[in-house]
Symmetry: C2
Subunit: 533 residues, 2 copies
């Protein structure tokens, strides 16, 4: 060696060690399902994680073994993120909203040996127990009514433990996609990818975490690593406020009481919060920053948050990308922009953070790379250290030559690097050889004062192949006609994009992650016929 | 493989690729030594770096070869940071303020094959040319008067080049310490350490870089990788404003004209700027953030910047740590603190950013790890991925068991992780078996309205071993007596710390990096005797 820097294996344990050492007293507050509250801190989380790692070893678990969690957001769930990784294990965060068949498939596929779960999900455990063939031990986060309680379980350990060492390419977490088509697919996050993703997530252009941040993440810890917040937050030593229930009244109360500055969730979560405030005639919470992702953030949502003095971070990503790909926030010309200009900019999905790289290719010929001209839309591909190469147990890589992963999304890249997502490959509507963005139609429609939710799908048309039909749920007590909606859209989208029909429905189906399920909507209206179709 | 994330080699070329792709038009402005100005952008920097890499290969340079730069801050110097690394080479940033013997030693020790230099340093080149035995080619950044000009040299290339690939542990830069004792020592920064250091440097607790940042770094590109700013800035796609001269009038002018939001420099640089503003009866520039490091930031400096609305980031680090170790900025209780409390907090050196770890050990027994109690001071040690393991060409590692590097600094660690630097191991004054901090005495003394600069060293004392003597340079036109200074210090430090004598001098010697040179001061006063000594 002619001279070098120190060796340092990028392990997730460095993250919790850092938080416990540099921000030991910074609080982690939990509001539990039963209404009670507990407070711990980074030091406490680390101590409990050490005990949990010991307790797992005592059960016979070894490096590479998988532990499932079936839980909402709370401090004990957080302990398990670090405890399992610290034992060299892999945490499988199971989405409790999945169907039984999916729950069976993913737990068995992952070969989970231990399951830690919330008492609220006891019915799921009771129902699935016989079908989960690999699970040897059940631990309940809240109580010992039906099985060992988490607190008793770890209390039996001393916490005198050395984190299990290993390669930085070892997995530390596995998340499954929700499987809107076929079986869910497992994505293994590595120690290295997790640390890099969190380091990138800290930056001002992304979560902008500093010591003074107080974050209440509404995005669940069981989906896409909760956008990496529990890792990035630990790196910056922020205060976390968790709520095990997603009731807006509870969230609102916690936000005010605990001085919450930052929150993150999918659009429907923000929508529910708006509705709660409106119904009670109260102001939105005084948040400094709101991250919206998982689906496109509609215009009125961005505008309302900005008017509230809240910075909006519009993030795009997916389970396969750990999940942060792009984040939209203030651009360098921000101070010279009007509110309207800021809102319109933020409606796009932002720019890739250092580490990941995007490109678009032709929808019909994926060897043709498209220009970043702000106009041409194509299939969105991504590559980088926190992007999946191969799904868990898959026979082959999920990437093309050059290491690109196809996202299944359709978008436009702008010359300044901004991504504008227009649709999903499978939802885009092809009319007369041209593409119509179902997402843009939906987002325009929800701006109408009487529209609560809207979903657009393509329906067969003998002349145009497909034409858009818009399904609308009206706001409670509000009314409007199909003509009203079409008129409203008229100056917002191209004329030939206007839906051929507007259908009013009582509800729109959602996926396990709270997004509109076009697949279910298509199934429900399989026999639908256009008037001129 | 059971499923994994993508492979991604952490190379510095990803940084410039990212900047050129995601912030192609963000400007890089240079104010040259002759008063002229040029403007390029990240896209332009990358194109020129590709050409430079080609031009180096055309000269016969290969992977691992070293290229020296002898230059101030400007866009062409920046090009060479990425061009050399992109060719697989190692850039050796030479400090032009070193003595000839040191210049000879380091260039030959590094075995630099090419030297790129500013016309302003032509005298150094002329003087040293025969002594630099390994340098085969000289390229001048500004003109072709004496040798090939940089612009002509790279203009001969097409820029159609693929970055040279390699391991992430390959070196990409080498910096030498200024060698206040013995020969300078070379520290090799690796691609990996550089990327990690820059990712960490982006965060709100450190440089807080976002798309809207406009940074004028006064810290030279020839010292300690300019604190990593050229890398972190590229990751965030910030605008850079460089000045090839450090005249405060020029810096001030550029700051106002280019909308500079951030600057960084050692305390003397900030002091010179204050004096310029005072002499001309003008306000400080409206900076959002000022990073001060390299020496302790004195109280009045922090206070004045804060009153100006500027956030102060007080950074500690060294060539051996890439260099960022800790940064002091807003803590989580910031909003509840008075200005005075904020100033006092910021005088400490801040907290380690994720990646590095600190501890203190007993000054007399370095196997004894000291508590983080905010009181016990000891020898400061550091470890992490961007901390040196072995100096270039050294026979053995520079770290102790457990991988700790001894910084040569003395400090106190507080329970909340804050580092308070009290002195250097070799400057600390031992009086009657107790330690006195020379730095604290100096920093208190410069608060006196008549004191321009102060340096404190220990002088032999028959009873106490050593007693502090304070050397003071008075401000132009100001006057004070030794009694005045002692009286002023009386309520600022412990009584037994008060200097035994205050000596007024015309100047205090400085090192090549602009810091007080205690070694030279001690040499100058080698025959000094205390009155009762
Ligand atoms: N900001 C955004 N704007 C628009 N769409 C988004 C945004 N963020 C995420 N998405 C959509 O969500 C997808 C990622 O979904 P995610 O991985 O979180 O869930 P999943 O379990 O794979 O379920 P599904 O893909 O079926 O929604 C993206 O591919 C994209 O289509
Ligand atoms: N914020 C700070 N407060 C006090 N001292 C600092 C601070 N930052 C850096 N220093 C001092 O500067 C040293 C690092 O110096 P650096 O590596 O930049 O230069 P060098 O070439 O090694 O020269 P020298 O070590 O002789 O000053 C640290 O070890 C510490 O003593
Ligand atoms: Mg998906
Ligand atoms: Mg040094």
């Amino acid at each position: 060696m002619l001279g070098a820097m120190q060796d340092w294996t990028m392990r997730v344990t460095h993250v919790i060690d850092h938080a416990a050492r540099e921000a030991p007293d910074r609080e982690i507050v939990t509001r539990w399902a039963d209404g009670s509250e507990t407070r711990t801190n980074w030091q406490g989380i680390r101590t409990d994680a050490l005990k949990m790692a010991q307790a797992l070893q005592a059960l016979g678990l070894r490096k590479g073994d998988k532990v499932a969690s079936l839980a909402m957001n709370h401090s004990r769930h957080l302990v398990s993120w670090y405890g399992v990784a610290g034992m060299g294990g892999v945490l499988h965060t199971v989405n409790p909203r999945l169907f039984d068949d999916q729950l069976e498939y993913i737990v068995n596929h992952a070969e989970d040996r231990v399951m830690v779960y919330d008492a609220a999900f006891q019915p799921i455990v009771d129902r699935m127990r016989d079908r989960w063939t690999t699970v040897e031990h059940y631990i309940c986060f809240d109580s010992g009514e039906h099985t060992t309680s988490f607190e008793d379980w770890i209390a039996a350990q001393s916490g005198d433990f050395q984190w299990v060492a290993g390669s930085e390419r070892d997995p530390c977490m596995i998340c499954y996609t929700s499987g809107t088509t076929g079986n869910p697919k497992g994505v293994q996050y590595e120690h290295r990818s997790t640390v890099l993703h969190a380091m990138a997530g800290l930056q001002p252009a992304a979560f902008n975490f500093s010591a003074s941040s107080v974050m209440l993440p509404v995005v669940p810890m069981f989906h896409a690593a909760s956008w990496g917040l529990p890792y990035a937050g630990a790196m910056a030593g922020i205060k976390f406020v968790f709520s095990a229930v997603n009731d807006p009244a509870v969230l609102h109360d916690m936000m005010l009481k605990e001085g919450v500055t930052d929150s993150a969730g999918v659009p429907t979560v923000w929508l529910a919060h708006f509705q709660y405030c409106d119904a009670n005639g109260i102001d939105l919470p005084p948040l400094k920053a709101a991250t919206i992702g998982g689906s496109a953030a509609p215009k009125f949502m961005i505008e309302r948050l900005m008017k509230n003095g809240t910075r909006v971070q519009h993030a795009w990503g997916m389970t396969e990308t750990s999940p942060i790909g792009t984040v939209g926030g203030p651009t360098h010309d921000w101070e010279n922009l009007s509110l309207e200009e800021r809102v319109v900019k933020t409606m796009k999905q932002g720019r890739p953070i250092f580490g990941v790289e995007l490109r678009t290719v032709d929808l019909d010929d994926n060897t043709k790379v498209l220009p970043r001209d702000g106009e041409t839309s194509g299939a969105l591909q991504i590559r980088g250290p926190w992007v999946v190469k191969r799904y868990f147990k898959a026979e082959e890589d999920a990437v093309t030559e050059g290491g690109w992963f196809d996202t299944g999304d359709v978008g436009v890249l702008h010359p300044d690097g901004t991504l504008q997502l227009t649709d999903r490959t499978k939802d885009v509507i092809k009319s007369g050889g041209e593409w119509i963005s179902s997402v843009e139609l939906e987002n325009a429609a929800v701006g109408h004062p009487a529209v609560a939710e809207a979903a657009c799908i393509g329906m067969f048309h003998p002349k145009w192949d497909e034409r858009p039909v818009l399904f609308v749920v009206k706001k409670e007590g509000a009314d409007c006609s199909d003509r009203d909606v079409i008129d409203y859209l008229a100056d917002k989208v191209a004329k030939w994009w206007l839906p051929d029909a507007v259908e009013f429905v009582d509800d729109i189906p959602h996926t396990a992650t709270g997004k509109i399920s076009k697949k279910d909507l298509r199934d429900r209206f399989a026999d639908y016929k256009l008037a001129d179709g």
